[in-house]
Symmetry: C2
Subunit: 400 residues, 2 copies
Amino acid sequence: MPASPIRKLIPYAEKARDKGVHIFHLNIGQPDIETPKVVLDAIKNNDLKVIEYSHSAGMESYRRKLVNYYSRYQISVDYTDIMITTGGSEAIEIAMMTCLNEGDEIIIPEPFYANYIGFGTQAGVTIKPIISSIEDGFALPPISEFEKIIGPKTKAIMICNPSNPTGYLYSREELEALRNLVLKYDLYLFSDEVYREFCYDGKQSFSVLNLEGVENNAVMIDSVSKRYSACGVRVGALVSRNKELMATALKFAQARLSPPTFGQIASEAAIQTTSEYFKKVNNEYKARRDFIVDALNTMEGVICPKPSGAFYVIAQLPVDDSDKFCQWMLESFSHNDQTVMMAPASGFYSSPGFGKNQVRIAYVLNLESLRSAMECLKAGLEAYPGRVIPAPEESRSSVN
Amino acid sequence: MPASPIRKLIPYAEKARDKGVHIFHLNIGQPDIETPKVVLDAIKNNDLKVIEYSHSAGMESYRRKLVNYYSRYQISVDYTDIMITTGGSEAIEIAMMTCLNEGDEIIIPEPFYANYIGFGTQAGVTIKPIISSIEDGFALPPISEFEKIIGPKTKAIMICNPSNPTGYLYSREELEALRNLVLKYDLYLFSDEVYREFCYDGKQSFSVLNLEGVENNAVMIDSVSKRYSACGVRVGALVSRNKELMATALKFAQARLSPPTFGQIASEAAIQTTSEYFKKVNNEYKARRDFIVDALNTMEGVICPKPSGAFYVIAQLPVDDSDKFCQWMLESFSHNDQTVMMAPASGFYSSPGFGKNQVRIAYVLNLESLRSAMECLKAGLEAYPGRVIPAPEESRSSVN
């Protein structure tokens, strides 16, 4: 596997730090928000004497509480429809291994979460990308585009909703269009919904499990990492009403024995997190998004759609190559001894050449830091030797 | 993947429990020993505010302490030679994906840990077994047997030392013979050493990393699960001095982000576990092994070698089929309202037909319980309708 564009930047970030430059880390989805106290307390107050394996599908008590949690989103499932995994990552891996064979294809709108490529490689599955465009705010591409590449090896379609890296929140209508498509071609529909709680402007996420008529097709990927700012507990879930699928998934789960015990204790306690916590966190993220999207769009030559979910935006920058620009920001630039680390968007496209002038920005720092970071970015864009102000007809994000 | 013989027994165990029969669980390697207090306290006293991802290769502080831990076993490694994984399971998975390609072969003496098959399936790797025999106490098969099946697709040899499921402790001489073999054919040598601490009769385990001249071939799999009776923390390690191998392994590790944070906190604290703890635990296991091996060998028609490591024995029973016998013990038998659950050995062989009259017994219960369990087993063997006392020439464990 080649190193991702973000990882290639790490040595440059280390060198910048060694020079005494402060780096605003907008490159990763590691929130600065505190984990709810109820979660931290559950770990401190645990009274285990032997840290045993849990059930391979996860602790039953936790799975039963998750049923209640999902019912708050009108998702009606039985606890046997839920398998606890080691992070959302493992849920994706197991879903791919369960539903697809070596050489099968999965269609994913791009830009998509870079690690999907790694999971595909591990499962021996080919990812077929479909471009979604910055001009449409990364909405679902037309269904006709999917149909063009559906072939005999196509076994599944996968979305991330709300999306990492675009923040796009798929509408009910888009989900229903996907439902009709997977029914027509008998495909699985995977939906990575780990940012469910992070929807703004009064919008709500619509789960793949809220769709009717695709009980055997729908597979939901979940994780507590972002929801409770608890990435390190490594607890996710694979949820499907397809009993045969869940039985096969359990065999993969049994091979790795069990998900982490302390993480499950933390996650079970997390179900008690109050709606006030989420309200406060959402208000904070919304304020950050509003600030950052405005700040970006007032910079000359920058285009940034305003997404309704997650805590990421993709921005198009007036640069020759965002891989080079992101490296230059770390290697050769500072503004008041500060600089910004961003994720070059090329890592979120599997189609070569796409995303060349885009970056992903995670708004996981407080407003004050974001303000300084945007000042840095503005100054950086003005000073960057590879600056390109595209003519209107060249402003499309894609190469052809 | 087919269900394993152990898992097939679970519904029968549930029914027996429902009838009020007490089951002695000798079927799984879940120790009853208490986790060291220093480990439990580290979790209770943690003061994290945000449960963040750790480094994909694990927390540097923990990796640096592991260097000291390994030096106690004369294993000299740098912290960059160590990658922390989500249990030993993930270390095996990543080792296979890193070192072998789709369709490549790995040779493993059998009986072997049943989950190796699952990891092989996931990595698209073919496991080529070589029979080790109960008559030799499951010693390393002759090197000539390995050479017979080494072909162009063979990329690695794997052992578990001390072994689950046999308890066999490989000698330095056996390790050196394997070293010469992997050098001759340019193969990787994987060694799963998660039972390192559990060696008896004054013997010590000899690590694959203690071998000279195979720095680029040797890959050690480790885990804290058994060492500290902390299976639920899900923390293992992949250790190799082969820098290129470790760089590739890191890419797989990055795809799944990080191993569990609380598990790493627990494991780092565990390095402080006193030698008194291990001495006490070892004395306990040794007493159990001595008891159980004696008890088994005094039963008519039972053969059980006395292994020097881990906490398992494989016993040959005077039965027609140990899958059937283990099921019968749960379904149709009880002695003073008690019965015994064991692992049919067929699950530890990938060669069809082998292990048909063998079981694996994990001595993970205290002596009093083991005494009652052995009484049950004796009574069960006497009452079992499929009892077969083999004639001497038929007493071999294998079919041909």
